[in-house]
Assembly symmetry: C2
Protein backbone atom coordinates (compact mmCIF):
# COMPACT_ATOMS: atom_id res chain seq x y z
CA UNK A 1 0.00 0.00 0.00
CA UNK A 2 1.63 3.26 -1.09
CA UNK A 3 1.47 5.71 1.73
CA UNK A 4 -0.71 8.77 1.49
CA UNK A 5 0.75 12.03 2.71
CA UNK A 6 1.08 11.93 6.46
CA UNK A 7 1.78 14.71 8.86
CA UNK A 8 5.52 14.97 9.20
CA UNK A 9 7.58 17.68 10.84
CA UNK A 10 8.48 18.93 7.39
CA UNK A 11 6.11 19.03 4.46
CA UNK A 12 6.37 15.57 3.10
CA UNK A 13 8.10 15.51 -0.19
CA UNK A 14 8.76 12.31 -1.98
CA UNK A 15 12.28 11.79 -3.20
CA UNK A 16 12.72 12.60 -6.86
CA UNK A 17 15.37 11.41 -9.23
CA UNK A 18 17.95 14.02 -9.90
CA UNK A 19 20.70 12.48 -11.86
CA UNK A 20 22.21 9.18 -12.70
CA UNK A 21 25.75 8.16 -12.30
CA UNK A 22 28.27 6.03 -10.56
CA UNK A 23 29.34 6.48 -7.01
CA UNK A 24 31.88 4.70 -4.87
CA UNK A 25 31.00 1.16 -3.86
CA UNK A 26 32.53 -0.97 -1.15
CA UNK A 27 33.64 -3.83 -3.32
CA UNK A 28 34.25 -4.71 -6.93
CA UNK A 29 31.17 -6.93 -7.02
CA UNK A 30 28.96 -4.12 -5.88
CA UNK A 31 30.40 -1.69 -8.40
CA UNK A 32 28.11 -3.24 -11.00
CA UNK A 33 25.20 -1.95 -8.96
CA UNK A 34 26.21 1.63 -9.56
CA UNK A 35 25.34 1.38 -13.20
CA UNK A 36 21.69 0.85 -12.33
CA UNK A 37 21.58 3.34 -9.45
CA UNK A 38 19.86 6.71 -9.32
CA UNK A 39 21.08 9.42 -6.97
CA UNK A 40 18.46 11.12 -4.84
CA UNK A 41 18.64 13.70 -2.08
CA UNK A 42 16.30 14.38 0.81
CA UNK A 43 16.03 17.06 3.43
CA UNK A 44 16.12 16.55 7.15
CA UNK A 45 13.14 14.52 8.48
CA UNK A 46 11.85 13.54 5.08
CA UNK A 47 10.74 9.91 4.77
CA UNK A 48 12.48 7.73 2.22
CA UNK A 49 9.67 5.20 2.53
CA UNK A 50 7.03 4.24 5.03
CA UNK A 51 6.41 0.95 6.74
CA UNK A 52 3.93 -0.89 4.53
CA UNK A 53 5.01 0.75 1.27
CA UNK A 54 5.61 -1.61 -1.61
CA UNK A 55 9.28 -2.49 -1.46
CA UNK A 56 10.36 -1.48 -4.95
CA UNK A 57 13.77 -0.07 -4.15
CA UNK A 58 16.98 -0.81 -2.42
CA UNK A 59 19.16 2.06 -1.15
CA UNK A 60 22.71 2.97 -0.30
CA UNK A 61 23.69 5.97 1.82
CA UNK A 62 26.21 8.27 0.14
CA UNK A 63 26.19 11.18 2.59
CA UNK A 64 24.21 11.97 5.71
CA UNK A 65 22.37 9.61 8.06
CA UNK A 66 19.09 7.69 8.01
CA UNK A 67 17.04 6.04 10.75
CA UNK A 68 14.80 2.99 10.41
CA UNK A 69 11.81 3.16 12.75
CA UNK A 70 8.88 1.04 13.78
CA UNK A 71 5.99 2.20 15.94
CA UNK A 72 3.66 0.45 18.35
CA UNK A 73 -0.03 1.33 18.40
CA UNK A 74 0.31 3.70 21.36
CA UNK A 75 3.23 5.61 19.89
CA UNK A 76 6.19 3.85 21.43
CA UNK A 77 8.93 3.98 18.86
CA UNK A 78 11.90 1.77 18.13
CA UNK A 79 14.80 2.63 15.88
CA UNK A 80 16.22 -0.55 14.43
CA UNK A 81 19.35 1.01 13.06
CA UNK A 82 21.09 4.14 11.96
CA UNK A 83 22.34 3.99 8.38
CA UNK A 84 25.55 5.87 7.62
CA UNK A 85 27.75 6.46 4.63
CA UNK A 86 28.21 3.25 2.68
CA UNK A 87 25.35 1.37 4.36
CA UNK A 88 22.74 -0.45 2.30
CA UNK A 89 19.13 -0.71 3.38
CA UNK A 90 15.68 -1.65 2.16
CA UNK A 91 16.55 -5.09 0.86
CA UNK A 92 13.69 -7.25 1.84
CA UNK A 93 12.10 -10.59 1.08
CA UNK A 94 8.54 -9.37 1.52
CA UNK A 95 6.29 -7.27 -0.67
CA UNK A 96 6.40 -4.28 1.66
CA UNK A 97 8.93 -2.51 3.84
CA UNK A 98 8.71 -3.62 7.46
CA UNK A 99 9.85 -0.24 8.80
CA UNK A 100 9.87 3.45 7.96
CA UNK A 101 13.12 5.07 6.81
CA UNK A 102 13.67 8.77 7.53
CA UNK A 103 16.48 11.20 6.83
CA UNK A 104 18.16 12.34 10.05
CA UNK A 105 20.17 14.99 8.24
CA UNK A 106 20.12 16.18 4.68
CA UNK A 107 21.00 12.99 2.90
CA UNK A 108 22.20 11.71 -0.47
CA UNK A 109 21.25 8.18 -1.45
CA UNK A 110 21.64 5.88 -4.40
CA UNK A 111 18.41 4.11 -5.23
CA UNK A 112 18.37 0.73 -7.01
CA UNK A 113 15.21 -0.74 -8.47
CA UNK A 114 14.65 -4.14 -6.96
CA UNK A 115 13.89 -5.75 -10.31
CA UNK A 116 17.07 -4.36 -11.80
CA UNK A 117 19.05 -5.81 -8.94
CA UNK A 118 17.32 -9.15 -9.45
CA UNK A 119 18.15 -9.11 -13.13
CA UNK A 120 21.73 -8.13 -12.51
CA UNK A 121 22.06 -10.92 -10.00
CA UNK A 122 21.18 -13.41 -12.72
CA UNK A 123 24.04 -12.12 -14.82
CA UNK A 124 26.57 -11.63 -12.05
CA UNK A 125 26.47 -14.40 -9.46
CA UNK A 126 29.08 -12.53 -7.44
CA UNK A 127 26.52 -9.84 -6.74
CA UNK A 128 24.34 -12.38 -4.99
CA UNK A 129 27.26 -13.35 -2.80
CA UNK A 130 27.92 -9.74 -1.92
CA UNK A 131 24.31 -9.19 -0.93
CA UNK A 132 24.43 -12.40 1.06
CA UNK A 133 27.48 -11.05 2.87
CA UNK A 134 25.76 -7.74 3.58
CA UNK A 135 22.72 -9.51 4.99
CA UNK A 136 24.90 -11.77 7.15
CA UNK A 137 26.61 -8.68 8.48
CA UNK A 138 23.28 -6.99 9.21
CA UNK A 139 22.04 -10.12 10.93
CA UNK A 140 25.13 -10.22 13.12
CA UNK A 141 24.63 -6.59 14.04
CA UNK A 142 21.01 -7.35 14.89
CA UNK A 143 22.06 -10.23 17.13
CA UNK A 144 24.44 -7.97 19.01
CA UNK A 145 21.72 -5.38 19.37
CA UNK A 146 19.33 -7.99 20.79
CA UNK A 147 21.94 -8.90 23.40
CA UNK A 148 22.27 -5.22 24.21
CA UNK A 149 18.52 -4.67 24.49
CA UNK A 150 17.84 -7.86 26.36
CA UNK A 151 20.64 -7.97 28.87
CA UNK A 152 22.70 -4.79 29.16
CA UNK A 153 22.38 -1.89 31.60
CA UNK A 154 21.97 1.72 30.53
CA UNK A 155 25.68 2.49 30.86
CA UNK A 156 26.61 -0.65 28.96
CA UNK A 157 24.15 0.21 26.21
CA UNK A 158 25.42 3.74 25.74
CA UNK A 159 29.06 2.66 25.90
CA UNK A 160 28.42 -0.11 23.35
CA UNK A 161 26.62 2.35 21.11
CA UNK A 162 29.43 4.88 21.22
CA UNK A 163 32.05 2.25 20.41
CA UNK A 164 29.96 0.92 17.58
CA UNK A 165 29.51 4.39 16.13
CA UNK A 166 33.23 5.03 16.48
CA UNK A 167 34.03 1.87 14.55
CA UNK A 168 31.61 2.76 11.80
CA UNK A 169 32.52 6.42 11.72
CA UNK A 170 36.12 6.23 10.61
CA UNK A 171 38.21 8.32 12.95
CA UNK A 172 38.69 6.61 16.20
CA UNK A 173 38.84 9.39 18.74
CA UNK A 174 36.15 11.74 17.55
CA UNK A 175 32.70 10.75 16.42
CA UNK A 176 29.61 12.59 15.34
CA UNK A 177 26.10 11.73 16.45
CA UNK A 178 23.78 13.44 14.01
CA UNK A 179 20.69 12.01 15.70
CA UNK A 180 18.89 13.41 18.76
CA UNK A 181 19.08 11.97 22.27
CA UNK A 182 15.55 10.70 21.76
CA UNK A 183 16.65 8.85 18.63
CA UNK A 184 19.47 7.28 20.59
CA UNK A 185 17.08 6.33 23.35
CA UNK A 186 14.65 4.74 20.91
CA UNK A 187 17.53 2.76 19.46
CA UNK A 188 18.86 1.59 22.83
CA UNK A 189 15.55 0.93 24.55
CA UNK A 190 15.97 3.87 26.94
CA UNK A 191 14.38 7.29 27.46
CA UNK A 192 15.88 10.60 26.41
CA UNK A 193 16.45 11.42 30.06
CA UNK A 194 18.35 8.23 30.76
CA UNK A 195 20.52 8.72 27.69
CA UNK A 196 21.28 12.26 28.80
CA UNK A 197 22.10 11.22 32.35
CA UNK A 198 24.30 8.40 31.10
CA UNK A 199 26.23 10.76 28.81
CA UNK A 200 26.64 12.92 31.89
CA UNK A 201 28.05 10.02 33.92
CA UNK A 202 30.51 9.10 31.19
CA UNK A 203 31.57 12.71 30.93
CA UNK A 204 32.09 13.05 34.69
CA UNK A 205 34.10 9.85 34.66
CA UNK A 206 36.36 11.37 32.02
CA UNK A 207 35.61 8.60 29.56
CA UNK A 208 34.12 10.90 26.95
CA UNK A 209 33.92 14.63 26.31
CA UNK A 210 31.18 16.45 24.45
CA UNK A 211 31.86 19.15 21.92
CA UNK A 212 28.50 20.64 21.19
CA UNK A 213 25.60 18.23 21.29
CA UNK A 214 26.56 16.11 18.33
CA UNK A 215 30.31 15.61 18.62
CA UNK A 216 31.82 13.14 21.07
CA UNK A 217 35.48 12.71 21.93
CA UNK A 218 36.51 9.32 23.22
CA UNK A 219 38.94 10.17 26.00
CA UNK A 220 39.44 6.65 27.31
CA UNK A 221 38.51 4.02 24.82
CA UNK A 222 39.63 1.11 27.01
CA UNK A 223 37.45 2.23 29.87
CA UNK A 224 34.57 2.57 27.44
CA UNK A 225 35.22 -0.97 26.26
CA UNK A 226 35.02 -2.28 29.79
CA UNK A 227 31.84 -0.36 30.48
CA UNK A 228 30.37 -1.90 27.35
CA UNK A 229 31.01 -5.40 28.73
CA UNK A 230 32.68 -6.02 25.40
CA UNK A 231 30.67 -8.77 23.75
Amino acid sequence: MPSPARTQPHPLIRPSARSTGPSGARSAELAALDRIGVVITLRRDEAIFFQGDTAEFYFKVVTGAVRSCTLLADGRRHIGDFLLRGDFFGLNAGETYPFTAEAITEVTLVRYARRSVDRLMGQQPQLGRSLLAILCHDLLAAQQQMLLLGRKTAVERVASFLLQMAERGGTQARLSLPMTRTDIGDHLGLTTETVSRTFGQLKSAGVIALEGLHEVLLMDRDALGELAEAA
Copy 2:
Protein backbone atom coordinates in the same frame (compact mmCIF):
# COMPACT_ATOMS: atom_id res chain seq x y z
CA MET B 1 21.28 -4.94 36.39
CA PRO B 2 19.83 -7.98 34.72
CA SER B 3 20.78 -11.20 36.38
CA PRO B 4 23.43 -13.58 35.14
CA ALA B 5 22.13 -16.85 33.86
CA ARG B 6 21.68 -19.25 36.71
CA THR B 7 22.53 -22.87 36.92
CA GLN B 8 22.28 -24.31 33.45
CA PRO B 9 23.70 -27.65 32.51
CA HIS B 10 26.77 -26.82 30.48
CA PRO B 11 27.07 -28.78 27.31
CA LEU B 12 30.25 -30.76 27.41
CA ILE B 13 29.91 -33.17 24.60
CA ARG B 14 30.84 -32.42 21.04
CA PRO B 15 28.43 -33.44 18.34
CA SER B 16 29.43 -36.41 16.26
CA ALA B 17 28.28 -37.46 12.81
CA ARG B 18 26.21 -40.57 12.90
CA SER B 19 24.80 -41.32 9.51
CA THR B 20 24.29 -39.90 6.07
CA GLY B 21 21.14 -39.36 4.11
CA PRO B 22 18.69 -36.97 2.55
CA SER B 23 15.80 -35.30 4.33
CA GLY B 24 12.88 -33.13 3.30
CA ALA B 25 13.52 -29.51 2.30
CA ARG B 26 11.17 -26.55 2.29
CA SER B 27 11.39 -25.66 -1.38
CA ALA B 28 12.50 -27.08 -4.68
CA GLU B 29 15.58 -24.83 -4.76
CA LEU B 30 16.67 -26.04 -1.38
CA ALA B 31 16.11 -29.67 -2.27
CA ALA B 32 19.48 -29.63 -4.03
CA LEU B 33 21.04 -29.02 -0.65
CA ASP B 34 19.89 -32.35 0.63
CA ARG B 35 22.25 -34.18 -1.66
CA ILE B 36 25.21 -32.66 0.18
CA GLY B 37 23.73 -32.92 3.69
CA VAL B 38 24.73 -35.23 6.51
CA VAL B 39 22.24 -36.18 9.19
CA ILE B 40 23.41 -35.89 12.76
CA THR B 41 21.66 -36.36 16.08
CA LEU B 42 22.42 -34.85 19.46
CA ARG B 43 21.19 -35.41 22.95
CA ARG B 44 19.57 -32.83 25.17
CA ASP B 45 21.97 -30.00 26.16
CA GLU B 46 24.72 -31.03 23.77
CA ALA B 47 26.33 -28.15 21.90
CA ILE B 48 26.19 -28.18 18.11
CA PHE B 49 28.95 -25.58 18.03
CA PHE B 50 30.43 -22.98 20.33
CA GLN B 51 30.74 -19.25 19.85
CA GLY B 52 34.14 -18.68 18.28
CA ASP B 53 34.34 -22.08 16.55
CA THR B 54 35.38 -22.00 12.91
CA ALA B 55 32.16 -21.75 10.93
CA GLU B 56 32.53 -24.76 8.67
CA PHE B 57 28.93 -25.91 8.61
CA TYR B 58 25.44 -24.79 8.00
CA PHE B 59 22.52 -26.64 9.64
CA LYS B 60 18.87 -27.40 9.28
CA VAL B 61 16.64 -28.69 12.07
CA VAL B 62 14.78 -31.88 11.19
CA THR B 63 13.32 -32.75 14.59
CA GLY B 64 13.64 -31.24 18.04
CA ALA B 65 14.62 -27.72 19.05
CA VAL B 66 17.84 -25.73 19.29
CA ARG B 67 18.75 -22.50 21.09
CA SER B 68 21.36 -19.95 20.00
CA CYS B 69 23.01 -18.28 23.00
CA THR B 70 25.51 -15.56 23.71
CA LEU B 71 27.03 -14.83 27.10
CA LEU B 72 28.34 -11.67 28.72
CA ALA B 73 31.49 -11.78 30.81
CA ASP B 74 29.59 -12.02 34.13
CA GLY B 75 27.35 -14.81 32.98
CA ARG B 76 24.28 -12.94 31.78
CA ARG B 77 22.90 -14.95 28.91
CA HIS B 78 20.86 -14.05 25.88
CA ILE B 79 19.09 -16.48 23.58
CA GLY B 80 18.90 -14.99 20.11
CA ASP B 81 16.46 -17.48 18.74
CA PHE B 82 14.91 -20.90 19.09
CA LEU B 83 15.33 -23.06 16.00
CA LEU B 84 12.53 -25.48 15.23
CA ARG B 85 11.75 -28.04 12.57
CA GLY B 86 12.63 -26.69 9.15
CA ASP B 87 14.75 -23.77 10.41
CA PHE B 88 18.22 -23.16 9.03
CA PHE B 89 21.03 -21.78 11.15
CA GLY B 90 24.76 -21.23 11.22
CA LEU B 91 25.05 -19.40 7.92
CA ASN B 92 27.49 -16.67 8.55
CA ALA B 93 29.72 -14.25 6.72
CA GLY B 94 32.53 -14.42 9.27
CA GLU B 95 35.16 -17.02 9.95
CA THR B 96 33.66 -18.06 13.26
CA TYR B 97 30.21 -18.56 14.74
CA PRO B 98 29.04 -15.52 16.69
CA PHE B 99 26.95 -17.60 19.11
CA THR B 100 26.74 -21.03 20.67
CA ALA B 101 24.07 -23.46 19.45
CA GLU B 102 22.74 -26.05 21.88
CA ALA B 103 20.16 -28.81 21.65
CA ILE B 104 17.13 -28.10 23.82
CA THR B 105 15.73 -31.56 23.28
CA GLU B 106 17.12 -34.58 21.56
CA VAL B 107 17.55 -33.23 18.07
CA THR B 108 18.10 -34.37 14.50
CA LEU B 109 19.89 -31.99 12.15
CA VAL B 110 21.15 -31.96 8.61
CA ARG B 111 24.64 -30.56 8.37
CA TYR B 112 25.92 -28.94 5.17
CA ALA B 113 29.57 -28.15 4.63
CA ARG B 114 29.94 -24.46 3.92
CA ARG B 115 32.27 -25.05 0.97
CA SER B 116 29.85 -27.51 -0.57
CA VAL B 117 27.08 -24.97 -0.29
CA ASP B 118 29.33 -22.36 -1.88
CA ARG B 119 30.14 -24.68 -4.74
CA LEU B 120 26.52 -25.64 -5.25
CA MET B 121 25.57 -21.99 -5.29
CA GLY B 122 27.85 -21.48 -8.27
CA GLN B 123 25.99 -24.19 -10.17
CA GLN B 124 22.47 -23.30 -9.02
CA PRO B 125 21.87 -19.57 -8.85
CA GLN B 126 18.41 -20.24 -7.43
CA LEU B 127 20.03 -21.58 -4.30
CA GLY B 128 21.60 -18.20 -3.67
CA ARG B 129 18.21 -16.57 -3.95
CA SER B 130 16.72 -19.03 -1.49
CA LEU B 131 19.46 -18.35 1.02
CA LEU B 132 18.97 -14.63 0.47
CA ALA B 133 15.28 -15.09 1.20
CA ILE B 134 16.03 -17.05 4.37
CA LEU B 135 18.41 -14.36 5.59
CA CYS B 136 15.88 -11.61 4.83
CA HIS B 137 13.33 -13.55 6.83
CA ASP B 138 15.74 -13.97 9.74
CA LEU B 139 16.58 -10.29 9.62
CA LEU B 140 12.90 -9.37 9.76
CA ALA B 141 12.43 -11.66 12.74
CA ALA B 142 15.42 -10.02 14.41
CA GLN B 143 13.95 -6.57 13.83
CA GLN B 144 10.70 -7.61 15.46
CA GLN B 145 12.61 -9.07 18.36
CA MET B 146 14.52 -5.81 18.81
CA LEU B 147 11.22 -3.94 18.99
CA LEU B 148 10.05 -6.45 21.57
CA LEU B 149 13.20 -6.18 23.68
CA GLY B 150 13.47 -2.43 23.38
CA ARG B 151 9.93 -1.29 23.87
CA LYS B 152 7.50 -3.95 25.07
CA THR B 153 6.32 -4.80 28.59
CA ALA B 154 6.62 -8.26 30.12
CA VAL B 155 3.05 -9.21 29.23
CA GLU B 156 3.48 -7.96 25.67
CA ARG B 157 6.72 -9.89 25.33
CA VAL B 158 5.26 -13.16 26.53
CA ALA B 159 2.09 -12.73 24.46
CA SER B 160 4.14 -11.92 21.35
CA PHE B 161 6.34 -14.93 22.01
CA LEU B 162 3.41 -17.30 22.36
CA LEU B 163 1.82 -16.04 19.15
CA GLN B 164 5.09 -16.34 17.31
CA MET B 165 5.60 -19.89 18.52
CA ALA B 166 2.03 -20.73 17.56
CA GLU B 167 2.60 -19.46 14.03
CA ARG B 168 5.80 -21.42 13.69
CA GLY B 169 4.50 -24.52 15.38
CA GLY B 170 1.80 -25.57 12.98
CA THR B 171 -1.37 -26.18 14.92
CA GLN B 172 -2.94 -22.97 15.95
CA ALA B 173 -4.57 -23.72 19.28
CA ARG B 174 -1.99 -25.90 20.97
CA LEU B 175 1.70 -25.26 21.07
CA SER B 176 4.64 -26.88 22.70
CA LEU B 177 7.43 -25.04 24.47
CA PRO B 178 10.29 -27.50 24.78
CA MET B 179 12.55 -24.92 26.43
CA THR B 180 12.66 -24.00 30.13
CA ARG B 181 11.21 -20.84 31.67
CA THR B 182 14.76 -19.60 32.06
CA ASP B 183 15.37 -20.10 28.34
CA ILE B 184 12.23 -18.12 27.58
CA GLY B 185 13.35 -15.39 29.96
CA ASP B 186 16.78 -15.21 28.38
CA HIS B 187 15.13 -14.90 24.99
CA LEU B 188 12.66 -12.19 26.06
CA GLY B 189 14.98 -10.16 28.28
CA LEU B 190 13.16 -11.20 31.46
CA THR B 191 13.86 -13.39 34.48
CA THR B 192 12.46 -16.86 35.08
CA GLU B 193 10.28 -15.46 37.84
CA THR B 194 8.75 -12.79 35.64
CA VAL B 195 8.06 -15.29 32.88
CA SER B 196 6.39 -17.58 35.36
CA ARG B 197 4.29 -14.80 36.88
CA THR B 198 3.28 -13.59 33.43
CA PHE B 199 2.19 -17.07 32.40
CA GLY B 200 0.18 -17.09 35.60
CA GLN B 201 -1.51 -13.79 34.72
CA LEU B 202 -2.41 -15.00 31.24
CA LYS B 203 -3.78 -18.19 32.71
CA SER B 204 -5.89 -16.36 35.29
CA ALA B 205 -7.19 -14.10 32.55
CA GLY B 206 -8.31 -17.19 30.64
CA VAL B 207 -6.18 -16.30 27.65
CA ILE B 208 -4.10 -19.44 27.82
CA ALA B 209 -4.19 -22.75 29.64
CA LEU B 210 -1.23 -24.89 30.57
CA GLU B 211 -1.15 -28.63 30.11
CA GLY B 212 1.93 -29.76 31.89
CA LEU B 213 4.84 -27.34 31.82
CA HIS B 214 5.57 -27.50 28.13
CA GLU B 215 2.18 -27.49 26.45
CA VAL B 216 0.14 -24.32 26.05
CA LEU B 217 -3.43 -24.01 24.82
CA LEU B 218 -4.39 -20.68 23.31
CA MET B 219 -7.88 -20.11 24.70
CA ASP B 220 -8.35 -16.60 23.34
CA ARG B 221 -6.08 -15.83 20.48
CA ASP B 222 -7.59 -12.38 19.80
CA ALA B 223 -7.04 -11.29 23.37
CA LEU B 224 -3.48 -12.56 23.13
CA GLY B 225 -3.03 -10.52 19.96
CA GLU B 226 -4.18 -7.38 21.73
CA LEU B 227 -1.91 -8.05 24.68
CA ALA B 228 0.98 -8.44 22.24
CA GLU B 229 0.32 -4.92 20.88
CA ALA B 230 0.33 -6.65 17.51
CA ALA B 231 3.26 -5.17 15.65
